[in-house]
Symmetry: C2
Subunit: 195 residues, 2 copies
């Protein structure tokens, strides 16, 4: 059980940075903004982190790891394609719900990674997307999903819906993450399902 008080100073820096990056975007966030949020001088940040980009790297790759782990859990299970897709969607939403701020940064700011990090990140992402695409293809092959659907459109629509969630989802006023995952997958999967 991790509490705010137990965060190392480095973790505090990264969390504050995530909030800042989410609000203003990575490029428009200055190290002086970040220092001010933490009540220290900008130069002092460099006792904890090597560079501004290192923070972005942590945020992006840590989230990528969480998504991958969640998907691997689902792939282990013996399920029908539509059930596997449903569980994959719910897992993805649960990972995002655990840290909506980092999720928003992951989604919107990864393009500011420099090489070779950007390339590595995009490879992880395409791999993740392709594994969802396979579920859809399996569903078409087994007859659970319509053959008429455009696979690329289907998987992109799925990821669009998933990735925008941090932009509007408010855990205080909206339904809880698991219920959200259920409803979203119902909405998408039943839109794919025959009849």
């Amino acid at each position: 059980m991790e509490t705010v008080a137990n965060l190392t100073r480095k973790e505090q820096v990264i969390r504050s940075a995530a909030q800042l990056f989410r609000e203003k975007g990575y490029a428009a966030s200055s190290m002086r903004d970040l220092a001010q949020k933490l009540g220290i001088e900008a130069a002092s940040l460099y006792s904890h982190i090597k560079s501004k980009e290192e923070i972005l790297q942590s945020l992006c790759f840590d989230m990528a790891t969480e998504f991958r782990k969640s998907l691997e859990e689902v792939e282990k299970q013996k399920l029908s394609p539509s059930e596997r897709l449903r569980k994959g969607i719910i897992g993805h939403i649960q990972v995002m719900a655990k840290d909506l701020t980092a999720s928003a940064v992951f989604m919107n700011e990864h393009r500011h990674l420099s090489q070779p990090f950007l390339r590595d990140f995009l490879l992880l992402r395409i791999n993740y997307i392709n594994r969802f695409k396979s579920m859809i293809e399996d569903g078409i092959r087994t007859g659970q999903f319509k053959e008429s659907i455009d696979k690329k459109l289907a998987v992109m629509t799925l990821f669009s819906s998933l990735n925008w969630m941090p932009m509007w989802y408010d855990p205080k006023s909206d339904i809880d993450p698991t219920e959200l995952g259920q409803q979203l997958s119902d909405m998408l999967v039943n839109g794919l399902k025959k009849n």
Copy 2:
């Protein structure tokens, strides 16, 4: 019929800026980058535009106007809620397809507008979204759509799918915009429809 050659210099500046903003983001795009793209000095840009932000304002509000016009056309027609929603979706996609670059900027960079432009922009957007939400509510009231759906989730899923389209849609390798609109609305609306 407008051709590249007929663009005023100001329009050329705005189009080049849109490409730049889409690729690197507004904050990370410098006026020197933009000038280089056009083969002139940075200072010369200011003969055509008042400021960097004025370019962003043009892009965002011009797109907003196009979206509003498209929606008004659909609202004029006497249609069932699901048909109206379908036409609204197709119209939205057609507007985006006319300028995917500006659409991407509209979606991703509007937050860099300063006040009062940002506030005005967000008001236009919430109004637009609410008009789509009404279509969904009408569909529920008339029994075309399931009563069990979360309206906010449904409309946000819809807009997520629409707004991410410029991120992956390639008019050269993918289906054409009208067909895309048909398929996307089928996928979403049939996911909403009873049975």
